[in-house]
Symmetry: C2
Subunit: 277 residues, 2 copies
DNA sequence: TTGACAATTGACCGATTGGTCATTATTATA
DNA sequence: TATAATAATGACCAATCGGTCAATTGTCAA
């Protein structure tokens, strides 16, 4: 098994239990049954491991949410699909979600905070685009508050059901939140958050990603993953990106092929943005 | 100045900036201009300092919220007063609020988590009593969800305005949240959280506090605070607790005298419960 | 079988941590 | 002023941290 993956998986378990600071590299290497030196062959430092974990999972969360928004045609179902998918992701990667809950704004490391803020802004942007699409002009003055309320719902209900041992009815939860969202969207009259207050648009991750950057990441991922449909699709997409030869339908199909592979979600997200799907 | 207070105030500043784990006792003692040994004369350990800080502030938050609920007669204004008071407290003790945000469920220390959970449950209980009072039967099936939504609002908007440097219009914020609360209370039909799910009532801090326990705390506080109206009132209340001699009006007045003294809020809270005001 | 090269190890490093305690400074009492 | 009691100090401790690197083991073409 890939050392890097092994370390990431095992360390995440420990982080979820104890938090970053409280987990020593010694503990991680013991748990992985490798030596301390071997750890530093895979990661330059403990911080680099943490940043890699954040990227790995936040990329999936962000891409998943974006995919749902892009690929749900029925406006009526949009928020339901969004809530369901979000909580489903949280549940699936509950260890990482627990770490997020624990650390939150925390962790003194500047890079860490900047990274999390950037992903948070992306998430906000996705929510805002949903709101504008479903409610349009109707919520012009209250849409930013709505963004925050939705974030509040997700945050507080996640906390609740991560502590719960019993399985949670995600369908019921999502439906109940859709009802609340609709209520707030349609009847709120007193806005509190103004556009200036959250200044969407000044964050680095919003920048357009260049073709070359995408190619770099693709090559990297092609190296990483084993022979499979996903790898083939990735190679074809890479060639198409260098010199377009395929029809839009084929490209969409290829994107569909790779979108559920954990290593390809980010590429899938970037390419959808690049081709303006 | 009292050493204990000095350490608590100064350490809180450092915790707010850096977090618990990242702040060493050396840093704290340097910042207080005292020696390391002196620190251990006031607190048995670093953990004890942290627990003292939590008690000091959570007692104030809890007691403040409870006071507002008990002393607001107009149901129409109840939630407004509650939101306003809560955010006002957060703003006033923003350093502690920041620490709470940072650490949250965090911090591996069992005692810490248990304590925070207990205060959280008290807060939930206060919110629930407000909901039942204002909306009554109407929200029988959705009241627990409402509790969580309100907690979500408070949590997410606190985050927002703690990061904001500019002063925040608490009046506007509170009014906007009251509107949202009313909307959710009056029109939500799909409940998600059931009573069993949050099992209110199984936490230790809910237990009835005995007269002796209150007396202990009162004696301790009488030692702590300097000569003042508050101290006199405290002594009178103590005597009355041992052997009731004063009329209810006088007791109420004495309680009013002490309720704004930082050291007396908890006593005020306990006595109000004891006398069933 | 050899030997060049890469992968892996874990003893070791300096720094820092929470906590201790013999010693010293300060204050109160007589 | 002399003495007892209390408050305060900071050098010191063992433990642990993230990180390094000389030494060892494994791999594979020649």
């Amino acid at each position: 098994m890939n050392k890097k993956q092994l370390i990431m998986e095992k360390s995440l378990e420990l982080f979820a239990k104890q938090g970053f600071e409280a987990t020593s590299i010694q503990q991680i290497t013991d748990y992985c049954s490798i030596s301390k030196g071997a750890f530093y062959l895979s990661f330059k430092s403990k911080d680099e491991l943490i940043l890699a974990l954040i990227d790995h999972f936040m990329i999936q969360f962000t891409a998943d949410a974006d995919y749902v928004v892009t690929n749900t045609e029925d406006d009526e179902k949009l928020f339901y699909e969004f809530y369901y998918s979000t909580f489903h992701s949280f549940q699936k990667h509950s260890d990482f979600t627990k770490v997020l809950m624990k650390e939150q704004t925390h962790s003194f490391n500047k890079d860490f905070i900047i990274k999390m803020r950037a992903y948070d802004k992306l998430f906000e942007k996705t929510i805002l685009s949903m709101i504008e699409r479903v409610y349009g002009e109707e919520v012009e003055h209250t849409k930013y508050d709505l963004v925050y309320c939705i974030k509040g719902f997700i945050s507080i209900y996640s906390q609740l059901f991560l502590l719960q041992k019993a399985p949670v009815d995600l369908n019921l939860l999502s439906r109940s939140l859709v009802e609340k969202t609709n209520l707030l969207a349609r009847h709120t009259t007193i806005p509190f958050i103004s556009q200036e207050m959250i200044q969407i648009g000044n964050e680095p991750l919003n920048e357009e990603v260049t073709k070359e950057q995408i190619l770099d990441i693709m090559e990297q991922k092609i190296e990483e993953i084993e022979e499979s449909i996903e790898k083939e699709s990735l190679i074809l997409l890479k060639q198409h990106l260098i010199e377009p030869t395929l029809s839009q339908a084929i490209v969409k199909g290829l994107l569909e092929n790779i979108r559920n592979h954990p290593h390809c979600k980010w590429i899938s997200y970037l390419l959808r943005g690049y081709y303006k799907f």
